[in-house]
Every structure is written in structure tokens, then in C-alpha cells.
Homo-oligomer: 404 residues x 2
């Protein structure tokens, strides 16, 4: 007998009809002889609606009360799903976060799970019961309701998998699995059977929507293999697993992109130690994430140009902060461009393939795609291009690295 955690997202329980469907998937997995713990998100749209309500009350709505408010969404979906499972003739019950309890820190609206009490639920599921837990919510040491932040239901699933020592963690979605790229960008996108945590992390950060990066990270840290499954077929689409368990036949696993970038260049900054810190310190303090950074030394060795990218919504704030600091930075001029996008090739297989960078650049070059900036990691190469050629870039690289 295996012990499974099955997680269903908001779209999967977005209507009564869909909740019935989920109940049938749960039923099937249970009838196959498994012990089942279900994690469920709020019905699609509910959390946003509650956030909207709280914003109408106050732009600065109390975070503790916001957690009380938001946790109601999963309370509704988990009780409805439990009722549906009972309606199919099975023994089932819901446990709210405080009933389990799922103990978290007191960092309201983005709490971290500290511990999950397991004995009561283990007794229930080993007696043939199906346990339904709302995702996203917990309870702090002060006995207040907490939430884990956006995408928190995935985190709940991973934590449940860890504390209940389940045999697998199944994340059900509307797509058939993780794809080699966004099918909206390139029709030849294909399902990836196995992907490492690290690759998935890059895919997620860069725009793949199956699982939140923070949840991939949690499964990586705890080495909990995740099965991404399709709600319609019920079958495993993609397994997210340790790199050591994958035989890499291809250099590149997937092509990710983002369309939310802006590029800033400070021209003629003094080329001396500490200048980069001086540029980025005020940005960091203001929660602006810097993505790519390039520093090009000037020929005279005294002045340098610093180029970096930020999220597009942070552009104006960034420019303001930089300009406020010019008395220290003393740059000659500032140039910015918010019509840029980033495309990345991701693959654990590229570590042992030194020719990958050349292959990528020549492929883009042969399509007249200009590279504005580059950043690399062990399993990823990202380049910045003009926004209007992003689709062409994705298609070119998808084909070049034999993913079509």
C-alpha cells in the first residue's frame, strides 16, 4: 500500500462539475489501493475576489485579518470536495490548517511551514479514510490563521509529502505536464517526461506555469519527487526529480522566455571598486530585483558602462532611485529600453557540452537576432533580445536544440 498526496489547483476545482471530476480522480487513486491525502486550492477566482474586497476596505488591510479572510477560500473548496467524495460512498473528512495542525511561523501572508502533526490523519487514512486538507493555510504558534503566499497550495503538498513520508506527491493541473516551451509561442512544444528540480526551477522562474518556484525549491530541498499530472487524463505527464535520476539524451531540456523585462544602461560610470554596490544597494533596499548585469570596461580603464535588467513594472522606480544617487555615481548618461525580452535555454545536459553557447549564439545570429545581454548558470543560458523577435528566437532555439 502506497501513501500519496494529491494536490488540485484552483482551476481544477473551479466549478461544481470540476469538483465532481476531482472526486472521481481521488476515488480512482483510492480504489487502486493507496492511502490518500488531498490538498486543494481555493476555487478559481475566489482568492482574487477576496483580495479585491480587502483592497476596497483598505489599501493597507491588516495582514493577520487578510489571512483569516483568504483562508476561507480553501475552506470552501476542501469541504465541498470532501462532501463530493463522501457522496461517492467513501469515508472522508476535511481538516482545516488549525485542525491538523499545520504549524507555521507568524509571518502573515507568506508564512513558512514549521511542522505538521500527522498521527490523527495517519490513523484516519490507514483505516481507509480519505483526508482532505485545504492548501495555502496554516496556524501560527500564536494560534492565528496564516497563509503561505501565492502558490502556497503546492508548498502545502510538498510539506505534507515530507511530514507524512508519502510515496509520491502528485500535482494535478489543466495541462498535460511541463512542456519544452510555451505552446502559445511555438506549436511544436512537447511534453517533458522527466525534469530535474534545478531545471524546473529555471523553467518556473522564467515563465512555465505548472508550479511556483518556491514549491519546486521546497521539493528540491527535501528531495520529494513531484508528479505533474493532467486532470483530464489522470496520468503522469512530467516527473520532477533529482538530476541524478535522469539520463540526459539532449543538451537542452526546454526553452523559457519572459516578456516582462526592461534594460537600463549607465554610461560612463567611474570604474572603481564598490561602484556596482553603490548602484544596486538602493534598489535592493526598495525590493527591486536585478536580473542580468553586464559591465563593459571602457578603453581608457577609467570609465565603464553598466547595463542591467529589472522587471518592467520596476523601471520608473529604478530610474528615480538611480537619478537620486547620481551625486555618488556620477555617470554621464542613462539609457533605458522597456521593449526587451529574455529567452533562455535550460538543460542539465549542457554542463558537459562546452559548445552550447556557440550553438545558441550562431543560431540566433543566423536569424539576424541581436543579443543585447547574456547571463549564464550551470544549467541555463539566457539572452536579452528585442521584444519583437522573441517568438522567432524561441522557435529558432527549439528547433536548433532538437526539441521540435
Amino acid at each position: 500500500m502506497k501513501r500519496l498526496v494529491l494536490k488540485f489547483g484552483g482551476t481544477s476545482v473551479g466549478s461544481i462539475e470540476k469538483i465532481r471530476k476531482v472526486a472521481n480522480i481521488v476515488k480512482k487513486r483510492h480504489e487502486e489501493g493507496n492511502e490518500i491525502i488531498v490538498i486543494v486550492s481555493a476555487m478559481f477566482g475566489v482568492t482574487n475576489d477576496l483580495i479585491k474586497k480587502s483592497n476596497l476596505i483598505s489599501k493597507d488591510f491588516d495582514s493577520k485579518e487578510l489571512d483569516v479572510l483568504l483562508s476561507s477560500g480553501e475552506q470552501v473548496s476542501s469541504s465541498l470536495l470532501t462532501g463530493a467524495i463522501i457522496g461517492l460512498g467513501f469515508k472522508a473528512r476535511s481538516w482545516m490548517g488549525w485542525q491538523v495542525p499545520i504549524l507555521t511561523d507568524s509571518n502573515h501572508t507568506s508564512s513558512q511551514i514549521i511542522k505538521i502533526k500527522t498521527d490523527e490523519i495517519i490513523k484516519f487514512i490507514s483505516d481507509g479514510g480519505i483526508a482532505c486538507l485545504p492548501g495555502f493555510q496554516g496556524i501560527s504558534v500564536d494560534n492565528r490563521i496564516t497563509t503561505l503566499g501565492r502558490g502556497g497550495s503546492d508548498l502545502s503538498a510538498v510539506a505534507v509529502a515530507k511530514f507524512f513520508e508519502t510515496d509520491s506527491c502528485e500535482i494535478y493541473t489543466d495541462v498535460e505536464g511541463v512542456l519544452t516551451t510555451d505552446p502559445a509561442m511555438h506549436k511544436k512544444a512537447k511534453k517533458i517526461d522527466k525534469i530535474s528540480y534545478e531545471e524546473m526551477l529555471e523553467m518556473a522562474s522564467l515563465g512555465a506555469k505548472v508550479m511556483q518556484p518556491i514549491s519546486v525549491q521546497a521539493s528540491m530541498i527535501n528531495d520529494i519527487p513531484v508528479q505533474v499530472r493532467s486532470v483530464s487524463s489522470g496520468k503522469t505527464g512530467t516527473t520532477i526529480i533529482s538530476q541524478s535520476e535522469i539520463d540526459y539524451t539532449k543538451v537542452v531540456t526546454g526553452i523559457a522566455y519572459s516578456k516582462n523585462d526592461a534594460k537600463i544602461t549607465l554610461v560612463g560610470v567611474a570604474d572603481k571598486p564598490g561602484v556596482a554596490a553603490m548602484i544596486f544597494e538602493p534598489l535592493g533596499k526598495n525590493n527591486i530585483n536585478i536580473d542580468m548585469v553586464i559591465q563593459t570596461a571602457a578603453s581608457d580603464g577609467k570609465k565603464t558602462d553598466v547595463t542591467f535588467t529589472v522587471k518592467r513594472e520596476d523601471l520608473l522606480k529604478t530610474l528615480k532611485l538611480i537619478e537620486e544617487n547620481n551625486q555618488y555615481l556620477n555617470y554621464k548618461k542613462i539609457i533605458h529600453d522597456d521593449k526587451v525580452s529574455k529567452v533562455s535555454i535550460i538543460g542539465a545536459g549542457m554542463v558537459s557540452n562546452p559548445g552550447v553557447v556557440y550553438k545558441m549564439f550562431s543560431a540566433l545570429g543566423s536569424e539576424q537576432i541581436n543579443i543585447l545581454a547574456i547571463s549564464t548558470s550551470e544549467i541555463k543560458i539566457s539572452v536579452l533580445v528585442q521584444e519583437d523577435v522573441i517568438q522567432k528566437a524561441v522557435k529558432t532555439l527549439h528547433k536548433k536544440f532538437e526539441l521540435d
Copy 2:
């Protein structure tokens, strides 16, 4: 310093704008130097919507999970209201039923409150905080969420008044108080300043919509005076109080009516002991409430006619049950009429006024209104009339007993 419980119903918190308004009423009562505990219902329509969802899942939705589902409604309204109060610059927090805890029995969907723990909240409000509690919900000894049934928020308010020994229990509504009759029936309906628990109970049972009978009963048992207040003016409209504290200047306090009656007559039933029990036993077993009963002995002393009323929606079921039992009852024929209504005069002052019955009947008689059945209690006289004259009957009695 006084300690108050303020209860707001679903229509009073039916929108964000209304929640803001409620927050301002709470603020005002707090600034007047009172310790405040707020009880709040779910936003208007929410509970019905959740019940509808559960019905779509299963006609026989699990009652324990239904309580988890339904309690989410008050969770939303109480956290929103708390956020609104904090937004006005006050110290406030919500406590869910399980956090207080409000301990109930395990009779899911219609639980009774056993005990409320008070120390944590008393500390909070005596430190100047405003406590917001969701009405309608509690927690059972088995650590499961329970609900108190329809109108349960009033029950929560009365129980909080009792366990926290508050100085008053304020029930806020959309109307200006309890009226002498339904203004939709008679424009000259006037606000009643003071009404006894017993009178209110009769008014409530017979159709006044301010407070559920079960909550009036609870306040009567615990002798907790209730102030019915208007959300728009914030002022006390009607005080529901012990009869001994009211000076009765009028015989009749109010005129109630119901339009949901049906009359059944069994003609020619044997006039022997036990026959009434034989008629009503199967009805009671099937949860059909009998209201008025009249037995008229036949002239020969052997046969009798039995007339009684039931709720209109129970008519068909009642007829079926009676017919199934005719082998024992052996009646001659059965007559029924679902176009009847009941009008009642209510007043603790009538006990000492023997002429009231005559006055009522003659008033109706002078308007050619035929009386089909009568029932009386110490503080109430009800008569059954044809539905089409009910408004005329209400107006006639309202005038006759000097309520206009």
C-alpha cells in the same frame, strides 16, 4: 464603562460600503467609552449560495462538512469588518468560533452553545481592543466546526451577552425596530418601544422578521434584554425585555399574521378518547407541525368534526398521511382549503382585559370577515380567515386596538 455586544445581520454587512458603515457604528459605540464585542453574520446571499453549491454536489451533503462550508461565510464577513475597524485606526481582531472557543454540542447544522471561554477576549477588550466574532459558528467537543442553524447569529449574540455578562445586547437591523404590524400590510404600523420576550416570541413566530424565535427564547431564558437598533440611525428602536419591566397602557401590543396556512377538516370522526392522538401521531412523526385545532362535537354525541391547520407546504403530505390512516380513523370525508391566513392580536395587557375576545370578533364581524378557526394563549388571540381578507383584518384590528 459598559460592556456591549453588537450584532449585525447579513443585510447590514451585505456590501463593502455597508461593512464600512457598520465599522463606523462600532467606532462610535467604542468612542462612547464602551467595551465592544461584535457578532457578525455572513454577507447577504452568501450562506444561500453555499447551501446551493452543497446541494449541487449532493442532495444529502454530509452535515459535518456542511458546517465547515457554511462557517466560511462568517469568517469572511468578520475578517473584513475587523480590517475595516483597524483601518479606522482602532485595535481590533477577529476570533473564529474555534479560537474563542465557542463550545457547542455535536448536533451539526443546529448545534447548541454549551460554553464560551471569555478570559482572552475580556483581556483584549479591557485593553481597549474591539473583538469581532463570527456569528452562527462554534466548535464541538470533537474539535469539529459546528453551526447553530438559521438565525444562529442572534443566538451567538445572546450567548455572548450571557457568558461575557454584557450590559446590553444590541441587534442591528435594517428596520427601525419592531413594528405594531407589517408596514407592507398597513401603512400606519408604528414602532414599539418596549416589548416583552413573550410578546416578541409571538410576534416572531407569526411573521415579524427582526429576530428568530429561538433567539428570543434564548434571551428570555437568560433574561438578557435585547435592543433592536437601526443601522441607519444607530439608535435603539425597540427594547425586548422582561414583562415585569413594561407599563402596559394598551391591551394589544401588535398585530401579526401569516399567509402560509392550510386548513383540513375531517368530517364524521368517531367521538371517542384517543381519536385526536390517532390523527396527529403520524403527522408529528413526519415533522408536520399542527397549529390550530378545533373539535366540534356532533349533536348525536357519537361523531365529531376535527379541523386543524398546517403549513401550506405540508398540506399534500398531511392529506396523504391522513388518508393512509383512515382504516383506523374511519372519517366520513375530508375537506381542505389552502386559501386561508391567520391574523393574531398580541399583548401581555390582555390578560387583565376579559373583553378583548369580544372586541376582536365584533370588529371583524362588522367588516363581514368570517372567522374560520380560533386559538388563544395568555397573550395572544389568533383567528383564521380567508386569505383575500387578511389585509382588511390586519387594518381593522390595528385601528380597533388603537395602534394606528
